[in-house]
């Protein structure tokens, strides 16, 4: 078990060492990176927006229920929705969802290329395949996922507004007052740092699973599942470590 962990960790580091080197032909990498940005960014916008709106709405409703009958002012709901979204829900939930959508897609795409000998064909041409196939995905994710998280956080706050103001739980002024209270800039930094770390984890771990796939369609399916499972575990672990780091 421990040997297995070190074997995969060593192989992952070796792959990343090869992947994160200077590109051979910048315009080819630029083209591939922009393609990935569109795939990851535009392709995930709807699902991220949908999840974000419900996260905000559910958080607002739950806290409204929990604070009912207490001495805590009702406008605190806006504040709670904003901060819980920025600090935790937007980066973590968004990236867990993206691990499922983007991560499995990366593992399947690279794994399929491995099985169809596309990677061998590129290697024989002299292409650094880890570099060409993985680095554009990581760079694209590092640019696009923090933006998706920011959009998700914004939509989530709107979701909280819709769930409370439109249903009469809070007035417009109360919710806005809550959202504008006790703002700490560091929380936004924390959100972006989390988004960057999670983006790196989910793309590199998924790429690793796809790049080293062997066998047939069953193994490709397993690689895709492993990509999601390991990305999710590492995202949650990193989330904990970052929370400790930022709150010490």
């Amino acid at each position: 078990m421990l040997f297995n962990f070190f074997y995969h960790f060593g192989r992952y580091l070796k792959m990343m060492g090869t992947a994160l080197t200077r590109p051979e032909k910048l315009n080819m990498y630029y083209r591939e990176t922009t393609r990935q940005m569109i795939d990851i960014g535009i392709g995930s916008l709807v699902i991220v927006g949908l999840i974000a709106i419900f996260i905000g709405a559910v958080t607002a409703i739950q806290f409204s229920y929990q604070l009912d009958g207490t001495l805590v002012p009702r406008w605190y709901i806006g504040y709670i929705v904003r901060d819980s979204t920025i600090i935790e829900l937007a980066p973590t939930i968004t990236c867990l969802v993206l691990a499922g959508k983007v991560g499995s897609n990366i593992a399947a795409e690279i794994g399929g290329m491995r099985q169809k000998e596309h990677i061998d064909a590129m290697e024989i041409m002299g292409v650094n395949t880890a570099n060409y196939l993985i680095m554009p995905k990581i760079i694209a994710a590092l640019f696009v996922i923090p933006l998706l998280v920011a959009v998700g956080a914004f939509i989530s706050v709107i979701g909280g507004y819709a769930a409370t103001v439109f249903t009469g739980l809070l007035s417009n002024a109360e919710y806005i007052q809550g959202v504008r209270s006790f703002f700490v800039e560091k929380n936004v930094t924390m959100m972006f740092v989390k988004a960057l770390v999670f983006a790196f984890l989910l793309t590199s771990v998924s790429a690793y699973q796809g790049y080293h796939v062997k066998g047939g369609s069953i193994e490709l399916g397993q690689a895709s599942t492993n990509a999601v499972v390991y990305s999710d575990i590492l995202i949650l672990l990193a989330d904990y470590l970052l929370a400790v780091f930022f709150t010490q």
Binding site: K25, A121, I124, M125
Partner: protein, 253 residues
């Protein structure tokens, strides 16, 4: 020329190749033949560096390939073209993009020069005008020819073909064989073909090695095949009664 020196390859406890020492000559179609599971593909993958030998050396000219560092290996690889059994065309790219990929990656040619080169390669494999088609819109034979066009686009000195005729009808197979032979002779390159297609063996086998259980069991050329007494080779080549009768008839003449 490519030369192997005492190549051993093992996967775990199983040794697939046992001390292969042979040469593949420039300007000739060199064939590796043998039954399934005898190590033909492993040998081919070792030659192109996709696998590393457990023991032994592969020389490109006088250069020990596995003694080179990554950068030096890449320089050799840029002189290598390979046609895969499955063609290995990138299915998200058009035929033109597939062929242009090595040019985009490794040359500083202008777009016009690249287009001209792509058109030339397509013309060379008799597939002019299919630039904008995707691999899935072409037949198996066409995919093989596109694979050849991609393999020769950088003017390689070494061409490797893994089962170029698998899955093709006899007529298309002959076409592919002819194409590979003419490219080899015109460009004076070293071509290594891994096959168990008997038509290929008898048509283009200028330098043949027969692998049997990971050993070189026979070497020679297509003309020597008919007269050989090597049992392993005759068992392999003239496996069917029809071919055995043909051989007997040829020998009686």
């Amino acid at each position: 020329m490519i030369r192997t020196e005492n190549i051993f390859k093992a996967f775990g406890d199983k040794t697939v190749l046992h001390g292969i020492s042979t040469s593949f000559y420039k300007g000739k179609t060199n064939l590796i033949i043998g039954r399934s599971g005898t190590g033909k593909t492993v040998l081919l993958k070792l030659l192109v560096g996709l696998l590393t030998p457990t023991e032994g050396k592969v020389y490109y000219g006088d250069t020990d390939f596995f003694g080179l560092n990554k950068k030096e290996k890449r320089q050799i690889r840029m002189k290598v073209g390979m046609l895969f059994q499955s063609s290995a065309l990138f299915d998200s790219m058009t035929v033109e993009e597939n062929i242009r990929f090595p040019l985009d990656m490794f040359t500083n040619h202008t777009a016009k020069e690249k287009n001209m080169r792509v058109d030339y390669c397509l013309e060379r494999v008799n597939l002019s005008g299919i630039n904008s088609k995707f691999p899935s819109e072409t037949s198996g034979g066409m995919q093989k020819r596109v694979g050849i066009a991609r393999a020769i686009v950088l003017d390689p000195e070494f061409l490797f073909c893994d089962e170029p005729n698998s899955g093709l009808d006899p007529k298309t197979s002959i076409l592919i064989d002819e194409l590979i032979r003419s490219i080899t002779q015109e460009n004076n390159i070293t071509t290594v073909i891994n096959t168990h297609d008997m038509n290929s063996v008898m048509e283009i086998g200028e330098n043949i090695i027969l692998l049997h259980q990971g050993h070189v069991a026979w070497r020679g050329n297509k003309d020597e095949i008919l007269e050989t007494e090597n049992e392993i080779l005759t068992d392999f080549i003239f496996a069917s009664p029809f071919l055995q009768r043909l051989r007997a008839a040829a020998l009686n003449k």
